[in-house]
């Protein structure tokens, strides 16, 4: 990774983890799982496109672990983060423009690829992340219909809304 990519990603890491730990985790606690907004996966999604998959997986794990340390559910977010890091590579490969990524666009953001493309990528990425997150949080298949799926769908809708607001506000290019 080029050193000029480091700072924006570092600040995103710090900012998103702080927002998740200080605000969103508290909101989630008061709503008993039905207002679980996951913003930190945006850090994983906005990693540089050219980053190697093992690095993306490891960074996903790290950002999840950071959130876990603040929220007190060690391993749950880290597991979802690592999976998202791997899933992101597959999704980007599937959504690659004709002729592949040129390297001019550094991160998969609407500023580089347009809103339509970004929403498609983010929707799939978040669906995987949120589903895995709730699967790990409940940890038993018997909860699938009763808890995991309803909360995952609700969490996915709310998270996508916040993601759109965040992206509109900051409009990241790198």
């Amino acid at each position: 990774m080029n050193s000029s990519y480091f700072l924006p990603n570092f600040w995103r890491f710090a900012g998103l983890v702080a927002a998740q730990a200080i605000i969103l985790s508290e909101v989630a606690l008061t709503a008993e799982g039905y207002c679980n907004i996951l913003l930190y996966p945006l850090f994983i999604l906005f990693l540089p496109i050219q980053i190697p998959t093992p690095a993306a997986v490891s960074l996903g794990f790290l950002v999840g672990l950071a959130v876990d340390i603040f929220s007190g559910h060690l391993g749950v977010n880290a597991s979802a983060g690592a999976l998202s890091g791997y899933a992101r590579a597959a999704i980007l490969h599937r959504f690659a423009p004709r002729g592949g990524f040129t390297g001019k666009e550094i991160i998969p953001s609407p500023a580089n690829f347009g809103w339509r493309w970004f929403l498609g990528v983010a929707a799939i990425f978040y669906a995987i992340h949120v589903f895995w997150y709730f699967s790990m949080a409940y940890f038993a298949p018997v909860y699938l219909l009763e808890k995991i799926l309803p909360q995952a769908i609700l969490g996915w809708i709310l998270s996508m809304l916040v993601v759109i607001i965040y992206t509109r506000l900051f409009h990241p290019k790198v």
Binding site: P52, P54, V76, A78, S79, G85, M136, F139
Partner: protein, 285 residues
């Protein structure tokens, strides 16, 4: 080493993911109470199933060994049964030795019989004189003139041995004589086959005044050197006094049908040689 690096280059993302997910799994189940309970309960349930499945397969694979082990065990138990009848012999008997252990008086029984388990691999019943071949021989401790029994009756007498096999004269042979007695009476006689139905033999030399009834039990007598004393031989079918004779004619139904003999035990009487020597001495006197 190179191929490992190649593997990592090609599947590095997946490998990293697997390693980190395993780590996460460990973290989740170690630091979160509900997940720990779920995982330990599931572990118990599935490991139990898997272990059952595994032990079932191992049992199946070891059936052959188990069979051999059971036969050895059976031979050992049959030996004990054969020798246990000697416990009733009084102390003055030469077979019993008195040993003083501390202040306790203990009777020590000298085991008389050694049994070797074997399987019949060839058997005839239709001829005038019938033979069997068993799959134990000289190297297994089988000696000529040893009795052959089954769990439920008598089978024959070993005549010739090779290294790994032995030729057994069936009870359905005109030379085979089993020294037998009626259970409950002290009279004894010889059990011989007269031909005809292979399930029946006749017991001779029982005096006519002995009240023999059908269904009475015929066992190996204590005079037998070939078979363990008291081993079941058959049950009385019919008994009547023959005209002009002092003896009964007793038809005995064999408790072991000679037509379906499978597992047998070769009985070696450890004192047969001593007793035979004494019997030879009688002839020279």
């Amino acid at each position: 080493m190179y191929s490992i690096i190649q593997l990592f280059i090609r599947h590095g993302g997946l490998l990293t993911l697997v390693v980190l997910e395993v780590l996460c799994f460990f973290l989740i189940t170690s630091y979160n109470d509900p997940q720990r309970q779920i995982s330990s309960a599931s572990w118990l349930k599935y490991s139990g199933t898997v272990l059952n499945w595994k032990s079932g397969w191992l049992d199946y694979l070891s059936l052959k060994d188990e069979n051999i082990r059971l036969r050895v065990e059976n031979a050992r138990l049959q030996t004990q049964i054969a020798n246990s009848r000697l416990i009733e012999v009084p102390f003055q008997d030469t077979l019993v030795r008195k040993v003083l252990a501390d202040t306790l008086e203990q009777k020590v029984i000298r085991p008389e019989y050694v049994l070797v388990g074997a399987r019949v691999i060839s058997n005839t019943i239709g001829a005038r004189d019938n033979w069997m071949i068993i799959n134990r021989g000289k190297l297994d401790g089988v000696r000529p003139n040893s009795g052959v029994i089954t769990r439920s009756g008598v089978a024959g007498v070993v005549r010739q041995v090779s290294s790994h096999f032995a030729l057994v004269m069936s009870v359905l042979h005109h030379q085979t004589k089993v020294s037998a007695a009626l259970k409950g009476h002290d009279y004894f006689g010889s059990l011989v086959w007269e031909g005809g139905n292979p399930q029946y033999m006749s017991l001779s030399d029982i005096p006519y005044h002995v009240p023999v009834q059908p269904k009475d039990t015929v066992v190996v007598s204590n005079y037998s050197l070939l078979f363990p004393e008291g081993h079941l031989a058959g049950i009385v079918d019919t008994a009547y006094r023959m005209a002009g004779s002092n003896f009964l004619y007793i038809r005995v139904k064999l408790s072991q049908n000679p037509a379906n003999i499978g597992d047998v035990y070769v009985v070696t009487n450890r004192y047969a040689e001593q007793i035979n020597q004494l019997q030879q001495a009688v002839k020279h006197e």
